[in-house]
Amino acid sequence: MTNEELQACLTGEFTNAEVKIGKQYVEILVNAEELHDAAIKLSTEPLLSFDYLFCLTGVDYPEKMQMVYHLESTKHRHTVVLKVNTADRVDPVVDTVSDVWQTAKYHEREVYDLLGVKFNKHTDLRRLFLDDSWGFPLRKDYKDEVRIVER
C-alpha cells in the first residue's frame, strides 16, 4: 500500500490514534494504554501484517519520553512508524511488545538501560550494557563529572 492508502486504512482501524504522513513513512501515535492492542492489531491484521520490527528507539524530549517503533510488513512491503508518548519523564513506564515481536525483548532492555524506561510484563528486564548502579546516560539531563566534558 502507498502511504496515503496506509494512512486511510490506519485511520479507519485506530480511532483513538493520530495518523499522519511524516517525511518518509506514515506515523501513527497511539495512547500509552492502547499500545499493546495496537501492536497486536498491526501485526495480525491481514491487510497490515506488520511482522518485522526493524528498529526500536527511545527518545528523550523535554516534557515526555517517546518510544518509536519502525515496522515493516514482509508480505505487503509497506512500512509504518508506531509512536507512543509517556507523560512521566522521571519514571516512565510503557507496555512491552516483546510478545508480539520477539526482537523487542532485547531492544527494550537496551532502552531501559540507557534511558530508564520500564516495560510492563517484560519477562527479563535487566540492564544490558551497564551496571545496575549506573544512571541513564542517554537522558538529556544526565551528568557525569568524570567522563563527560561539557563544552
Binding site: 511524516g22 517525511k23 518518509q24 513513512y25 511482522d51 518485522y52 520490527l53 526493524f54 528498529c55 528507539t57 527518545v59 528523550d60 518509536v68 519502525h70 514482509t74 512491503r77 512508524v81 515481536w101 520477539q102 526482537t103 525483548k105 532485547y106 531492544h107 537496551e110 540507557l114 519477562t123 527479563d124 544490558l128 550494557f129 551497564l130 546516560p137 542517554l138 563544552r151
Partner: protein, 377 residues
C-alpha cells in the same frame, strides 16, 4: 533439539547436573569481547545468555554533541568491517533530509566501494570461519586475498578499513587514476581464487558434517527476531535492502538476492559465498561505466538538518543497518539511533544453539558473522 526455556539464572533454579561455563570476554572464537554464559549438561548446550557491553562506547550519546560530518567518522568504528556502508548510511540520511541530489559519479563510486567492502568483510568472515572449525590454513588464504582490496582502498582514500570516504554531498576525493584498472585486475584474479575456497571448505566432508543441520532458524523466527543479512536469508527471509529499498547505484545493476530455505549453518555459509560472487558481478557492471562529473556537491559549511525524523536503511555485510536521526534544526542531531544488524542477529543465538553441543555453538557463531562493536556501539 529440545525447546528452549528462557530461565533467569539464579542459584536456586539451576538444575543440579547442569553447569555453567563462561565463554568469557577473552576467547578465541567469540570474535570480539562477547561473554556467553552457557549452561551445559555434559556437552549439550541448554541455554545461552549473552552478556554484552564490554566495548560499549556511548556512540549514540557522543553523536548528540557532534556535527554531522563528525558523526560519520564514528560510524566507521561500529561495524568496522562494513565501515563504508555505515558511512554511506549517514550520508544518505543527511542528503535525503536536505533534499540534495548527488551526481551519478558519486553513486557509482559509493556502490563500487560498498561491494568491495562487502567482499573484504566476507573474506575475513570466511577465513575466520575456517579457523574456528580447525582448518587453520583458510585464515591465510582469505587474508591473502583481502590484502588486494585493502591496497585498493588505501590508494584511493588513504585508509585500509575505516574508510571515512563518503561525506554528505559526495565523496572526499576523486578516485585514484589507477582505481579502475586495479579493481578490474582484482576481479579477474579473485574469480580464479574463489573456487579454491570451495575446494578447501565448502566441499570438504568434515566441514559439511559440522555445519549441515546445525543451528536451524525457521523463517518465522528469523522475522520475529529481526535476523537480517545472509543469516536471515539462509532461513528464507527476503530482506535485502538493496532490492527492497534501493539506494545509490543499486537500481541500475542486475543482481540476484539469493535465498535458502534450509535455515542451517551450511545454508548461511553457502549464501555468503554466493554473495561474494554476486558482489563481483555488481562491480563488473559498474566499473567500466563510471560517469564523468563532480565527485561532490557543494554543501554549506555547517550542515543543519531541518526539524523532523529521518531514517535510512542500507545493506551492510551483516544485515540491515539503519540510521535514525531526530533533528531539531540545530547543527547537532537531537538523537541518533543506529539499528545494528549484529544486535538482532546475536540474540537469536539461543534459539539456534540450544540442544546442540559446544563445538556446534562455535560453528553457529561463526556463521552469524558477529562484530561486537556493532552490537555494543
Amino acid at each position: 533439539m529440545s525447546e528452549t526455556k528462557e530461565i533467569i539464572i539464579s542459584s536456586d533454579k539451576i538444575h543440579t547436573d547442569q553447569y555453567l561455563v563462561n565463554m568469557g570476554p577473552q576467547h578465541p572464537s567469540t570474535h570480539g569481547v562477547l561473554r556467553l554464559l552457557v549452561r551445559l549438561e555434559g556437552e549439550i548446550v541448554h541455554h545461552i545468555q549473552p552478556h554484552v557491553g564490554y566495548i560499549h562506547s556511548g556512540i549514540e550519546k557522543m553523536c548528540e554533541s557532534l556535527s554531522y560530518p563528525q558523526v560519520i567518522h564514528l560510524t566507521d568504528r561500529m561495524d568496522y568491517l562494513s565501515a563504508h556502508m555505515n558511512n554511506e548510511a549517514v550520508c544518505l540520511c543527511v542528503e535525503n533530509a536536505l533534499q540534495v541530489e548527488v551526481p551519478d559519479r558519486v553513486k557509482y563510486i559509493r556502490t563500487i566501494m560498498d561491494e568491495l567492502t562487502r567482499l573484504a568483510s566476507h573474506q575475513l568472515w570466511w577465513c575466520v570461519m575456517g579457523m574456528d572449525l580447525g582448518a587453520l590454513t583458510t585464515f591465510f588464504y582469505g587474508l591473502r586475498d583481502r590484502e588486494h582490496i585493502l591496497d585498493i582502498f588505501e590508494e584511493t582514500c588513504g585508509a585500509r578499513m575505516t574508510l571515512n570516504y563518503s561525506v554528505p554531498g559526495g565523496v572526499m576525493f576523486d578516485i585514484h587514476p589507477n582505481f579502475q584498472k586495479r579493481v578490474k585486475e582484482f576481479i579477474t584474479e579473485f574469480r580464479k581464487k574463489l573456487p579454491e575456497y570451495d575446494e578447501l571448505l565448502t566441499g570438504n566432508v568434515i566441514f559439511q558434517e559440522r555445519t549441515n543441520d546445525i543451528g536451524y532458524l525457521s523463517l518465522e523466527d528469523a522475522i520475529a527476531w529481526g535476523v537480517t543479512g545472509p543469516s536471515g536469508r539462509g532461513s528464507g527471509f527476503s530482506c535485502d535492502v538493496r532490492k527492497h529499498n534501493p539506494y545509490s547505484a543499486y537500481p541500475l545493476v542486475q543482481f540476484e538476492e539469493k535465498l535458502d530455505t534450509k535455515g542451517d549453518s551450511f545454508a548461511r555459509y553457502r549464501l555468503r559465498i554466493e554473495e561474494m560472487h554476486e558482489s563481483l558481478h555488481i562491480i563488473e557492471q559498474l566499473i567500466d561505466n563510471i560517469p564523468e562529473g563532480d565527485y561532490a556537491v557543494k554543501m554549506k559549511g555547517v550542515v543543519k538538518l531541518p526539524e523532523g525524523e529521518f531514517y535510512q536503511r542500507v545493506e551492510s555485510a551483516r544485515g540491515e543497518f539503519g540510521v535514525y536521526i531526530v533533528s531539531d534544526g540545530k547543527k547537532n542531531p537531537y538523537r541518533v539511533k543506529f539499528r545494528s544488524p549484529g544486535f538482532s542477529n546475536l540474540f537469536a543465538l539461543n534459539k539456534m544453539a540450544a540442544g546442540h553441543k559446544i563445538a556446534d555453538l562455535v560453528a553457529i557463531m561463526s556463521t552469524l558473522d558477529l562484530v561486537i562493536p556493532d552490537i555494543d556501539r
